[in-house]
């Protein structure tokens, strides 16, 4: 290691020290306030330089947030507006303000179930998927329901969910949306409303996964990319009346 610790501190701020030197410099910084101040000043420079990385990068996968949630051990949450102690409401109320009046009062019970909403990564031909959905509908305990237009009362989508939480939704009866819009599928589990995922602007037969005791399903129309908090009236709803 260089005898010049000051030089090493600057290099360390750029993450350019090898591991052995990095550890030693970190210890030195911890014991010397002046050295620490110097290091922090160079880190601020590095924080500016980091803005130099290219803007043009491939998009991160949509599942990345799910991975972070799982790894952090969070209960699935639709996410909320920026944290504000005065304004934050309970997740089940903010996730879907429009849905609550429709489903009636939702008991604000602490959710004991750890919920995970995920994706099936594989693809198949439409016929195969439909066949799987039909087969799944025959399995003992499977849920086989239609989501109704709350206003017209007509069936807008049909859903099959097995006891393992594997689900299929046929959204082909939904009208096609503009390219900058999408349908979003929501699940009501206990007293929580969570986003299962996006169905696209022209949904067909699609698979999904949801865990927990399903109390309802709903579809909303949203901007492309979906939302963490829906302000829209649902276009299709099913509620477990049991």
């Amino acid at each position: 290691m260089s005898n010049n610790l000051d030089d090493s501190v600057a290099v360390h701020a750029l993450n350019a020290l090898p591991e052995d030197e990095s550890a030693l410099v970190s210890v030195a910084i911890g014991f010397d306030d002046e050295l620490n101040d110097e290091y922090e000043s160079f880190r601020r420079v590095a924080a500016e330089l980091v803005e130099g990385f290219s803007d043009v990068v491939p998009a991160a996968s949509p599942q990345l947030w799910d991975r972070i949630e799982l790894a952090a051990g969070l209960e699935s949450s639709p996410g909320l507006p920026p944290a504000d102690a005065a304004r934050v409401e309970t997740p089940e109320r903010t996730a879907w303000r429009r849905l609550t009046p429709i489903i009636g009062s939702v008991a604000a019970v602490a959710v004991a179930i750890s919920l995970t909403a995920g994706l099936l990564a594989n693809r198949s031909e439409p016929d195969g998927l439909e066949a799987l959905a039909l087969a799944s509908a025959e399995l003992p305990g499977s849920l086989n329901v239609g989501l109704l237009d709350p206003t017209a009362g007509t069936t807008v989508a049909e859903v099959v969910v097995t006891t393992d939480g594997e689900g299929f939704i046929d959204g082909s009866a939904l009208p096609t949306l503009a390219e900058n819009r999408t349908y979003q599928l929501w699940a009501i589990v206990g007293d929580r409303v969570i986003s299962v995922g996006l169905m696209g602007n022209r949904p067909e037969f699609t698979a999904f996964r949801v865990e927990g005791q399903l109390a309802g399903l709903a579809i909303s129309e949203e901007v492309l990319g979906g939302v963490v908090v829906s302000e829209q009236d649902p276009v299709g709803v099913w509620l477990d009346q049991a």
Binding site: N15, A16, A47, S124, E204
Partner: protein, 212 residues
């Protein structure tokens, strides 16, 4: 029974919108967010991801040049800030800058680790191959810096300060590898990096003052 899907329902993620660049100390909103993380409010993590996820990912990808590795780093950065939010000190800079630097550090570690060995070997070969000419090395690394502001800042440095900094930071090389590539003593590379960083500190510090 294996279940497959015609088309994935994309998982809803908080929308990744670029957050504003705060070159002055962090905004009160960032501080509120950090404090919410300290209080272990789950919605704060999704908000942090919404605000900074794209920048963190861009930083990681900038170093690693591979989406899957960059995503691993993003995951690690946000899980770490959730588990140990006290690592951030608001008196030392912006929250977004902290997350990006954390991503940079992890990306560099990953780059040098066994997992990225294959990529690193390719990079080493490229570094060696192009090191016949420091000018071509500089051109190669500078074109990866998309920000005009950062490029301009680096252009104010002497060439012998600029290149080691650019190679170390934007390509994730240790100063030892930089010394090897430039055929310079390791101590010389270190001191040039420090000199260049000191100049950048003055320049960027002046810019920050100009914004106030």
């Amino acid at each position: 029974m294996t279940l497959t899907a015609t088309r994935q329902i994309e998982a809803t993620a908080p929308v990744l919108t670029p957050s504003a660049t705060h070159r002055i100390s962090e905004s009160s909103e960032d501080r509120d967010l950090w404090e919410a993380l300290l209080n272990q409010r789950e919605e704060a993590l999704s908000e942090a991801y919404r605000r900074f996820g794209q920048k963190v990912y861009r930083t990681a990808f900038g170093v690693l040049r591979r989406s899957e590795l960059a995503e691993d780093v993003v995951q690690e950065v946000f899980v770490r800030i959730w588990q140990r939010p006290e690592r951030f000190d608001p008196s030392r800079g912006s929250f977004g800058g902290f997350l990006q630097l954390d991503a940079h550090g992890r990306s560099v570690d990953l780059l040098r680790s066994e997992r990225a060995r294959a990529d690193r070997e390719i990079r080493e070969q490229q570094l060696s191959a192009s090191s016949n000419s420091p000018m071509s090395l500089e051109e190669e690394v500078m074109k990866r810096i998309s920000s005009e502001r950062i490029r301009d800042a680096l252009e104010t440095l002497e060439a012998d300060e600029r290149l080691p900094i650019a190679l170390a930071f934007f390509q994730g090389h240790s100063y030892r590898r930089v010394a090897e590539a430039l055929d310079l003593p390791e101590g010389t590379v270190k001191s040039r990096i420090r000199r260049g960083m000191s100049r950048l500190k003055e320049l960027l510090g002046e810019e920050a003052l100009a914004l106030t």
